[in-house]
Assembly symmetry: C2
Homo-oligomer: 544 residues x 2
């Protein structure tokens, strides 16, 4: 047994002994190492935008192979291999240049983007405080603060009155929502709660959480339970079905309409089909999307809510992407009906511009999470205010401190500027696509996401007189062209647009280029450069 | 539409406009605000141990009420409410003093403790890079780096040879493990994989992930599936049973032996009871614990492994706490048999001394996670190296960068010093308890956790001649005494020991004080102060 107070006195750098450990654990001993670290950390804390306008850096496959070869040692060294300052220098020089510059305004392919520099400061504080929000005894005021942040977001979604929030905001028996790692786990939490609320205890049956799915079906005299979603639902909903024992084949996709929204007629027909009198199938939940991952489409939330109310079905809205649009006075009406949901997913690391990772799930009813409460003797005892009682996850970081602070620093109007910029830039992008003969706009932006594809003029002409077989050929050819151009542009490393395969119906398989605009530095100058590059790549590589 | 390049020119502080946003988003404009921020951040990056030896600060319930009243505003302000520097000052002055000082060496009640200051630097870099490890396109080299870190930890657990790691470390089809938010989700992942591996597809049945639990039982001609665990298993295993549709009442607790380890005879008897010929129950997994949350006990892993092999049952080890003991040459043999597991949970934010939150799950078989693979058109396409394909969670931070760097900075021997210190200090603590007549040692430390209770001498005498009714009375009285003293000490705010209710058998309900030693600054001087305080509190408050 030893402690820092009784350390041995030998000084040998990079040998694991108590003296080294004291330096490693507590703080740098010499003023010069401290200064070196401060210099690096300043670069990291304020230098985010030094990366801006540089290459996005998703290199070609070959380079991935090279990188892989550099990380093949699976042994942990016995003594310290490097000092902190050398490790940081290594990250800056060897890792960062081969990471993806998601903060580049030319990186418009995914829902990961530039974040305000202050977010890094706030996350640093979260790490330094190292509170564990699973229980009050390791977080205290931070648990109280988190409840406030949950109420603030709950309020922009569900718009309850002052009396509601006064009552629930700090009441230990009320749970307005919960932080989880990401949107996948938020959707899983929503489906978990919906499943348990449906299969609640009744005579001789202790509820699905306790007795399991098979007994639940017996108790409720059914063979199958399903969840209805749009074809554009995020794959985490299928995954949730798999995890929860519902079976992912019972997450039933409903076709979309011309605006890529769930086809409400088909949804109603599906409900009627499943709800006939002798049916041994039950609908556990219907999911509306507020910002589809691939198209940004927003399902007709009010109409879905009406169907759910009529049929007493849990209504979940996956607003992982679109949720923060509620902060924009100009565009919040796009999400009308979200306040009628039973549960809503929102991601902080998406349009709240937080660093990875901050998923959130919100519930209209402050008691519904009672269906997933767990207690333990050493923490989370009944009656306590521990946030871990009703939560998918146990130990977790106090990222609510970052989100709550960000709301203060930005104000809702600050966020609205970002949201509005994204939506309006996406509209301008779509207009530009329509102007350029090489392209075809596939899904107009509803929020700040759009899809389009390269559709060369000669093939467009061809298409007009083509029979079904020829059309299929052309479609295949277009898919290959778009896969190639997307890859070439990614490999060139200057800009990044993603690609996906749209399946609006069960037989569609259309490869499209997908654009997500959330970086406030992304403007039409940059967008035109990106489109020019695609045209150039097409001419150089695919036209003989 | 607007961008920073076309911002308006009015300057009004704390009004949400494009000019303010530029300052907020990109970096402080004036040299003086930057300097103020650097000063604060230096304090945060290097000042961790300024908190050391100060009060732990879990205040009395009344103060929680006061705090709650201070966080009751549920409205988001429209314009920025505060500048970053004011927010940080607010956190330092108003939040931090009411947070829990988990880094105090007097805070020995939970598995959250002091972390080396360099961890905060590394997490800052992780936030600044903002890579999303769900896919290569938003992480590139960081995904490759993460695979290396997974291999390093896999290797200390499973001890495969060079050829094994050369083959799997960077092979896209191999998955040695996965990062999740915490131990709860790691255990959930393990049970998810075990469930799916058991209920795999067979004629007419597409597997439980696709078809659900009810159909799985039909296909396998059973009524019930169970998981066997020690009574001291973490409650996340019950939760996993609930989530996965197994039912948490089917996570069956087995009594422990005199050393608080799962009673191997009872376990064998339970297996035999469930495995009789006409049984319609199947055992999906058996869990061994390597460091029980409440007692630090380590189950007899080799014997459990033998039973699992004989009966072809998935063997999971929950080493969320104890895993890093494998880095100690002196004590790693305590975990002998862990290398025989099919899956192993380890938490980075526990004895790898990382900040919240870093759970990990490891698998012996690099292909077993194929049972939980999910694909999507826009990411995670088949054949890609995207880490999100076989993962409970989707978007997540690159915390592997912190763990991998920490392994380099500490070396395995650096970690071993911390581990050894914890174990040996806990042993000395137990010895001290035996010396003090007011106390009774309840569970000797196997690792660095022990439990004891206050058992006044007069009651000890009483006990010797008591009948069963009187014994029950004394037990109740002892429980009340220990609840009171633990609360009084917590409220005094100088030190923190946790309490739990031990249930080694189905009828036991013993309130004990629980100690977790992981802070290298915690030594016998401090421990004696803590015990002196408990004695003093007992004399002052409970002796007339």
């Amino acid at each position: 047994m030893n402690t820092f107070q009784s350390k041995d006195k030998k000084t040998t750098e990079l040998i694991a002994n108590w003296q080294t450990l004291e330096r490693i654990f507590l703080r740098p001993k010499s003023e010069s190492s401290r200064k070196a670290l401060v210099k690096y950390m300043e670069q990291i804390l304020f230098g985010l935008n030094d990366f801006l306008k540089k290459h996005v850096g998703i290199t070609e496959e070959a380079s991935l192979k090279e990188l892989s070869d550099r990380f093949k040692n699976s042994l942990i060294s016995q003594n310290p291999a490097r000092k902190l300052s050398d490790v940081i220098e290594g990250i800056i020089k060897d890792i960062a240049p081969h990471a993806v510059n998601v903060s580049s305004p030319y990186f418009i392919g995914h829902m990961t983007s530039a974040i305000p520099y202050f977010m890094v400061h706030l996350q640093t504080i979260v790490s330094a405080l190292n509170q564990n929000v699973v229980k009050l005894e390791t977080s205290k005021v931070v648990s109280v603060f988190e409840r406030q942040v949950l109420s603030k977001i709950h309020r922009i979604v569900f718009k309850k009155n002052d009396a509601f929030y006064d009552k629930h905001i700090q009441h230990p028996d009320s749970t307005l929502g919960s932080f989880v790692e990401d949107g996948t786990l938020a959707n899983l939490t929503a489906m978990w709660v919906a499943r348990n609320a449906f299969f609640k205890p009744k005579n001789g049956f202790s509820g699905v959480e306790k007795d399991g799915m098979s007994k639940a079906y017996q108790a409720y005299n059914i063979d199958r339970s399903v969840v209805l979603v749009s074809r554009f639902a995020h794959f985490s909903l299928r995954k949730s079905g798999g995890i929860l024992g519902i079976g992912n084949s019972n997450i039933l996709p409903v076709d979309v309409d011309g605006d890529n929204r769930i086809d409400i007629k088909k949804l109603r027909a599906k409900i009627d089909e499943l709800n006939h009198e002798s049916s041994r199938t039950r609908i556990l939940a219907i999911v509306g999307i507020a910002g589809a991952t691939e198209t940004g489409a927003i399902d007709p939330l009010t109409e879905i809510a009406k169907l759910c109310t009529e049929n007493q079905i849990h209504f979940h809205v996956d607003a992982a992407w679109g949720g923060p649009t509620l902060l924009s006075e100009k565009y919040r009406s796009l999400l009308s009906g979200i306040e009628l949901a039973d549960s809503v997913t929102i991601d902080g690391h998406k349009q709240f511009y937080m660093p990875m990772s901050c998923g959130m799930i919100y519930f209209q009813d402050p008691k519904i999470m009672d269906h997933v409460a767990y207690y333990a003797a050493y923490v989370n005892r009944p009656g306590s205010v521990d946030l871990g009682i009703k939560s998918l996850v146990g130990s977790r970081a106090a990222v609510s401190l970052t989100l709550g602070s960000a709301l203060e620093i930005m104000g809702s109007r600050g966020y609205a500027l970002l949201i509005d910029h994204g939506i309006e830039t996406a509209q301008a992008f779509a207009d530009e696509i329509k102007e350029r003969p090489l392209f075809e706009l596939i899904t107009s932006p509803r929020l700040n996401i759009l899809t389009y594809r390269i559709f060369p003029e000669d093939l467009k002409k061809d298409w007009q007189n083509a029979d079904d077989n020829r059309k299929k050929e052309i479609e295949n050819q277009l898919n290959q062209i778009n896969i190639t151009i997307q890859r070439l542009q990614r490999e060139a490393g200057k800009s990044f647009v993603s690609r996906t395969t749209l399946k609006r119906t069960s037989h569609e398989n259309m490869v499209v280029l997908r654009v997500v605009i959330m970086n406030p530095m992304t403007n039409m100058v940059i967008i035109n450069e990106i489109l020019d590059e695609q045209e150039e790549l097409y001419r150089t590589h695919l036209v003989d």
